[in-house]
């Protein structure tokens, strides 16, 4: 019951946050010079004043800003994200098409980074003064310092071109018409490289945080007590240290889950992954305002949800946090 009340409270707080983001973004976007009509006409290579006026009228860009804002708010109140004139389709459809692949890649990268990072940190911390610690530290330093796009390109050269083990890019093999299990394997094969290049940076971060955190905890009194009780080293680690040492890692993960949504643009671009990041980038480049606002709205909601989930994990790890 208390948990439910906590949840309700947090959700209520999220409403003004999302509303604020939406309103702020609307006006921020209109500060950018240039409009969708000029970009579209620019791409066409040739345009007449009549054609550009036609476009501006169709996009509603000939209306005053206050009218555009009013129309936008009215649409939002009806949960209507509007129409992307550049793409000739409703914004909701465009975003939903990309949401699946984005979440798939994001969650995979997130889980891989979290699990592997935590394990590596734990192994490094327990293996101080052995070969394990320096090796893991060096690897995580390299992973931390390597740009994701470079890693992605190098993986393509090695695994797709030289060894021909994995496909270069895309979500699945186009035109193969795979079904059932074959399709799952196909998508997984396409996801190996993007998920790895997206997760490696975070993996390194978690490994380093986890290592420091474990080292800090092992000096605590309760660990000495546990050891004094005669528990084995493994039980001390898994039963006592791990749970407490995880708290800073979860905090870090909560912050970075938001980054993963937007920060995957580069990886999406390199691997031709149909994600939200590239959609947003293209919408910004072409001043497709309705689409851009829609993406902002959806990602704001996603970040709020992810933060909520992280908070719940936090609470289950450390019941003292819940109030």
């Amino acid at each position: 019951m208390r948990l439910l009340r906590y949840l309700g409270h947090r959700l209520l707080l999220a409403v003004p946050v999302i509303l604020g983001i939406v309103v702020l973004n609307f006006f921020l976007i209109h500060l950018a010079p240039g409009d969708a009509a000029s970009v579209l006409a620019g791409e066409s290579g040739a345009a007449t004043p009549e054609y550009m006026a036609l476009l501006r009228h169709k996009f509603g860009l000939d209306q005053p800003l206050s009218t555009q804002f009013y129309v936008y708010l009215l649409n939002m109140a009806h949960f209507d994200l509007g129409y992307s004139f550049r793409n000739d389709s409703p914004v909701v459809g465009l975003i939903l098409d990309r949401l699946g692949p984005t979440l798939l890649l994001m969650l995979t990268a997130f889980v891989v980074a979290l699990i592997c990072g935590t394990l590596l940190g734990l192994v490094a911390a327990t293996g101080r003064r052995t070969w394990r610690d320096p090796v893991i530290s060096v690897i995580s330093l390299i992973a931390y310092a390597t740009p994701g796009f470079w890693l992605g390109l190098m993986m393509i050269v090695v695994f797709a071109i030289r060894l021909a083990w994995l496909p270069t890019s895309g979500l699945d093999t186009v035109g193969a018409d795979n079904e059932g299990w074959d399709e799952v394997v196909d998508i997984a094969r396409h996801m190996v490289m993007p998920a790895l290049s997206l997760s490696l940076f975070y993996l390194a971060v978690y490994a380093r945080v986890m290592r420091a955190s474990v080292l800090e905890q092992t000096g605590m009194d309760y660990v000495v007590t546990a050891r004094a009780k005669g528990q084995t080293e493994i039980r001390v680690m898994l039963g006592h240290v791990l749970r407490n040492a995880l708290l800073p890692v979860v905090t870090m993960a909560g912050v970075q889950a938001g980054n993963l949504i937007g920060g995957s643009i580069v990886v999406e671009t390199v691997f031709g992954w149909p994600g939200i990041g590239t959609l947003a980038f293209n919408a910004l480049q072409s001043r497709d305002l309705n689409l851009l606002l829609g993406i902002f709205f959806v990602s704001a909601c996603l970040v709020v949800v992810v933060n909520l989930v992280v908070d719940l994990i936090y609470v289950s790890l450390d019941p003292r946090i819940e109030r």
């Binding site: 010079p33 000029s38 345009a47 270069t168 895309g170 186009v174 671009t269 293209n282």
Partner: protein, 540 residues
């Protein structure tokens, strides 16, 4: 850089294989291979189109997909002469003011509707003339399309318009189905992204950010065609990954320089790939510098000529374009040589003592070097459409420094750049890339007519060039139907423009296609990537 079938390396390899097997095999090896049916051809289209409303948006990435679905009245042979397509014959009246088309019979649209002259009439008068971006130029003289019967369409023109006969392929003016559009708002028609045409491939599916899938039209009106079962157009944002997809054989065709010039040399060494520069004969384009003559110094003809002299176009061609293209001589592309419109008998800037001339012109124009060797400073707006333009800008900065002009580069995103250059006019030099269209009426008129100084319109006269003689000559060229007289008019135009140098013309752009050697018959005419792959086939 030739088509696969004529590559010497390939012939010799085949011959070498055939030698030990005797004469019969040798003869077979040289015979044209029999087209195989079926298969999925994957082509790379870059960037992903925002819409497939080919009838209302003329962005260069749309027709690669749209011309598989929509067809035009005509197609063109390697000499850019009209050939039958949806029109089986045509007759241009002696006064040039009407064109009669006899249409193919037994053609159906992908939705089952029969193709008749009513579709031609509706497409031209209700869709293209009202909504196509180039219609106000190309279709300005078209007043009516008459349909005496279902197989005849007669174009009525207010004045002769010799360029219309060059614009009737699907790339420029496609034919849509009347019953799909009638009674709807053309701009929001649901077939914008689900095109319905008469072409060899039917639109099936568009997964945004990934691919467009087109399947074989089993009821296609040309017997036995197409050979392919399916075409998939893939979208890969990253240039290196696009190259990788070609190298691994995942994709079969990358037209329109979807693969960076920088990677082409590496592609050529790959045994499964080959390249061609054919198929772009009707897609002339120039890279240029626009000069804002409302800025100090740039208002003087001598200064503009000095800038033209200071730039080594061959260097740009070799190092920025990686050897593709030709140094430009003036406002028209060399691709207009065959039609007798192009001339290089103009003031030439590629003379050996060009730097001395440039310095002398600048001295004479009242712009002496200061103590630091600098005469004056300018800003250069960097083209936002790709990395090569930044490289070109970096070269230009160096080249102009040689004659004492200090250049500062300014890079902005597309919308900001276009607004600065075509609306706010807050620029000195801009380096756009201008497609020239099917005829000088498209490429020259918008750039040099004084009436085309139009605030807020992109890629028109933003150098404020105004010359009554050019206005008069371009007006004459528009309606002149005698090719010889027309050629003389445009040659005169080029001489005057080069002398005045309102723009600096850098390189006649040459696109390049990369293809997998298993793919045959892909480039069958001057429109190349912009015409249907109806006879293309894949080796098993």
């Amino acid at each position: 850089m030739t088509d696969a079938h004529f590559t010497p390396a390939m012939i010799s390899r085949r011959a070498a294989l055939a030698l030990p097997l005797g004469l019969a095999t040798l003869r077979a090896a040289h015979a044209a291979p029999e087209p195989a049916r079926g298969g999925t051809m994957v082509m790379i289209v870059h960037p992903e189109p925002s819409t497939l409303a080919h009838y209302a948006v003329s962005a260069g990435n749309i027709p690669m997909i749209a011309t598989q679905v929509y067809e035009g009245l005509l197609t063109y042979d390697w000499d850019s002469k009209p050939q039958p397509n949806l029109a089986k014959s045509w007759d241009v009246a002696a006064d040039g003011k009407s064109i009669t088309f006899k249409l193919q019979t037994g053609v159906t649209f992908h939705n089952g509707a029969a193709f008749t002259s009513a579709d031609v009439q509706y497409s031209f008068m209700e869709i293209l003339k009202k909504f196509h971006p180039t219609a106000p130029v190309v279709l300005a003289e078209l007043t009516a399309v008459e349909t005496p019967d279902a197989e005849t369409a007669i174009f009525r023109l207010a004045n002769p318009a010799p360029y219309i006969m060059k614009a009737l392929a699907a790339r420029d003016l496609p034919i849509m189905c009347k019953s799909v559009f009638e009674g709807t708002d053309v701009m929001t028609n649901p077939t914008a992204n689900k095109p319905i045409g008469t072409g060899p491939f039917k639109f099936v599916q568009w997964e945004r950010g990934q691919f467009v899938r087109l399947d074989r039209n089993d009821k296609y009106w040309k017997p036995g065609l197409p050979y392919l079962n399916r075409i998939v157009a893939r979208f890969i944002p990253d240039a290196a990954t696009r190259s990788a997809a070609m190298e691994t054989g995942e994709a079969h065709f990358a037209g329109y320089s979807a693969v960076n010039y920088a990677d082409v040399a590496r592609m050529k060494t790959n045994p499964i790939l080959d390249t061609t520069t054919k198929g772009y004969e009707m897609t002339p384009a120039l890279s240029v510098l626009e000069l804002n003559s409302h800025q100090p110094h740039l208002d003087k003809k001598e200064v503009r000529q000095a800038i033209a002299y200071a730039i080594d176009r061959t260097f740009i061609r070799d190092n920025v374009m990686f050897g593709f293209g030709q140094p430009a001589t003036g406002p028209l592309s060399r691709l207009f040589t065959a039609s007798g419109l192009y001339t290089d008998a103009v003031r030439r800037f590629d003379v050996p003592d060009r730097l001395e001339i440039a310095n002398k012109l600048l001295d004479g124009a009242g712009a002496p070097r200061g103590a630091d060797g600098v005469r004056f400073a300018l800003h250069l707006e960097v083209n936002s459409f790709g990395e090569q333009w930044l490289r070109q800008a970096e070269y230009l900065k160096q080249a102009l420094a040689q004659v004492g002009i200090a250049v500062t580069l300014r890079s902005e995103d597309t919308a900001t750049w276009l607004r600065r250059v075509y609306t706010d006019y807050d620029y000195d030099i801009s380096e756009p890339f201008l497609s020239q269209g099917i005829d000088p009426v498209v490429g020259l008129n918008r750039q040099y007519l004084s009436s085309q100084i139009r605030k807020g319109v992109t890629f028109v006269n933003n150098s404020f060039y105004s010359n009554p003689e050019i206005d008069r000559l371009l007006g004459e060229g528009r309606t002149e139907i005698d090719p010889v007289k027309r050629g003389a008019i445009y040659q005169k135009v080029q001489q005057i423009l080069v002398e005045d140098s309102p723009l600096i013309w850098l390189v006649d752009v040459q696109y390049v296609s990369i293809f997998n050697r298993k793919l045959h018959n892909h480039t069958t005419g001057p429109l190349g990537t912009y015409q249907a792959f109806e006879t293309a086939w894949l080796e098993k």
